[in-house]
Symmetry: C2
Subunit: 231 residues, 2 copies
DNA sequence: ACCTGAACACCGTTCAAGT
DNA sequence: ACCTGAACACCGTTCAAGT
């Protein structure tokens, strides 16, 4: 009978943030080392390439050892995802222009998610309740309350801001998985062949060169303009 | 040596839409029957519960039989996802007010994705190139060109519209996976215990009652207002 | 053209046992 | 407190073989 395992507590997503961490005095594994190795493995091989056995090998440990530190594979994803949110630069207090703060946050979040192409899809698949994600959400709420947002309008604005980024980067990275250029070329040709079915789409097919940055920039402006109009 | 398999063609996501379908004369499996059973299995057990063996059992067939009709498990996800997009009501031509058309589309897309809680996360994880997704994208492009959007502004607007919905519903459904109420209660208590770290967040913690509809409604208005301001 | 059956190389997770 | 090792019940996918 093992004395105490990592799986104490309810089986909700994000549950790892509700548990105290193991003491971790010096020698062995720590939550940080595990998070770091998980991010590295995900960066190298994507979400499908992450297995407990491969991660354990990278850490020089037996696969089942990981179960002392995490309760489930999903815990690893929570650790890795919150590490990505830790890469978003801290705003350092609200600036003079709240729309600039929000715009900067959205671009900072996008850059962090793009750096780890597996992370945006993951951010849309489980609650973001890690300490870094909460700290960034706090900053957004500070900027929005400074602008005068309150109550349901505040919550809706904060949600729209992060949801637009998550959705945009998830879709953007979904094209990269097997090499973007061939996928896009195949779809372009498919659209041309069925131009009678999708005339407007075929006529305005996004160009092959990377317009992702430009489109995201415009999308952010659309939303921020709409937020500003509400004040 | 098998004569011809479903896996002809490049290994890009969405590749199933680039292949001709099997003739499917009467008796056996068809792409439609497979799609329908896949949706049902995903609805019942979520993305993690979908396996080729369980799907095959539901279809009264051996697991490896599916490989005649699809090249990979991912093909099944493409089939199921496009079936969900098929549930979005067709607009039936642009109405008098393009902002109303766009607003209606966003709500229709959200309702379809909510009906199948696995679908929003999936929509953010692979290119949406099925026939139903393309038809709905065509309608959005028609409405936006009618409003005067052109070129990069058109593409960015269309992307923002679907990305905000996908991100919003993905996040919303991610809370439901293990029962939303306990997850939310756990996070609320966690926020209260660390109120000194997240004061603004703790003070404005979203209420327990379901504000999802209201927040989404507001988010749509923020974006559509910003789009209207650009015209 | 379509379906079967055996087989391969994996998985996440458990549990008793070590130190 | 932390790590090991064997074991269980699964996976997606292949390939030769049937009809």
């Amino acid at each position: 009978m093992s004395p105490k395992r990592a799986d104490t507590g309810p089986a909700v997503p994000g549950a790892i943030w509700l548990r105290e961490r193991a003491p971790g005095r010096g020698g062995g594994l720590t939550r940080e080392r595990i998070a770091e190795a998980t991010v590295a493995l995900l960066d190298a091989d994507g979400a499908a390439g992450l297995s407990l056995r491969r991660l354990a090998e990278a850490l020089g440990v037996h696969a089942t050892t990981l179960y002392w530190h995490v309760a489930t594979r999903d815990d690893l994803l929570d650790l890795a995802l919150d590490a990505v949110f830790g890469e978003i630069p801290e705003a350092g207090g609200p600036g003079a222009d709240w729309t600039g703060d929000i715009t900067g946050y959205m671009h900072g979040l996008r850059r962090a998610l793009l750096r780890h192409p597996w992370s945006a899809a993951l951010a849309g698949s489980r609650p973001l309740t890690g300490p870094n994600a909460l700290a960034r959400a706090e900053s957004v709420h500070v900027a929005l309350t400074g602008a005068g947002f309150r109550g349901a309008e505040l919550s809706a604005a904060a949600a729209a801001i992060s949801n637009l980024v998550i959705g945009s980067v998830a879709v953007e990275t979904s094209w990269q998985h097997e090499g973007e250029a061939p996928a896009r070329r195949a779809v372009d040709e498919h659209l041309r062949r069925h131009a009678e079915r999708y005339p407007t789409l075929a006529a305005h097919a996004p160009t092959l060169d990377d317009a992702w940055d430009d489109h995201f920039d415009r999308a952010v402006r659309f939303l921020v303009d709409g937020l500003a109009a509400a004040r």
